[in-house]
Amino acid sequence: MSAPLCKKEFFVQEFDFEHAGKAASDMRKLLMDYGFDQQIVRRLAIAAYEAEMNMVIHGFGGTLIMEINFEYIELVAKDNGPGISDLKLAMQEGFSTASDEIREIGFGAGMGLPNIKRCVNFLGIETKPGQGTVVTMRVDLGPDAI
């Protein structure tokens, strides 16, 4: 595999709701500055934001890594949180373990992972209880992407 054209890392703090969303926002601005197609930027921004909020809320914080390649843009959200014990269940719309406090700020609908799936061309989740979660997302770049 060839080296990425660009790679950026963004750090995400656990339960820091003041700054939550900053990583996805910074990433989005970068993609807009590069001049990527608006629909591609929107899909990546939504996927990044959902993954970031999951790290803030469920994953003890983590890192969001963006890589631009020739054929696709890849996002990796990596945390050392509690992991997901039943991934099939977690992928279902409406399943959530979020607390009432989290619901009060507008999250915990159990729509985040299904949302990500809708936005990306590839979604891979590696997780083990007690060992964290790695969410890999890719959006393909067509000929008109930039």
């Binding site: 969303g21 929107r42 934001y49 159990g110 949302n115 936005c119």
Partner: protein, 127 residues
């Protein structure tokens, strides 16, 4: 209808006076669940919500919404106004309830948020 007209219909105050309110709004979505907003809106949608935390503006930024109306006269913190301004998301506040706000806008011809017939993307909702 543009955002000035919306403000008039809802007797709303404008919390981001520096932003351009002449942009057109065709559809709206009312929700207090942000993942629902991310899933079921399309660009330029107007969001009506009871949420007043920072994440509501972040959500609007990611989903490229046309503006936010805070309903039921909830107090909006300065930091939210500043972030909305920085993200170029117009922010309005009305004393009306969610029900009345949505009802008035619907009556004025604002549509629910559904997919454009010609749109082939797999992101905007196909309800």
């Amino acid at each position: 209808m543009n955002l000035y007209d919306i403000a008039t219909k809802l007797d709303a105050s404008i919390l981001t006076p520096k932003l351009d309110l002449s942009r057109q709004v065709h559809c709206a979505y009312g929700a207090d669940l942000l993942s629902d907003v991310l899933a079921f809106t399309r660009p330029s949608t107007l969001l009506l919500t009871g949420l007043i935390n920072i994440q509501v503006v972040r959500t609007a930024e990611m989903a490229e919404l046309g503006g936010i109306v805070v309903v039921r006269g909830k107090p909006v913190h300065r930091s939210l106004q500043e972030l909305a301004c920085a993200c170029k998301i117009p922010l309005l506040r009305t004393r009306m309830t969610m029900f009345e706000s949505c009802g008035r806008l619907y009556q004025s011809g604002i549509k629910p948020c559904i997919k454009d017939p010609g749109c082939e993307c797999n992101v905007c909702p196909s309800v």
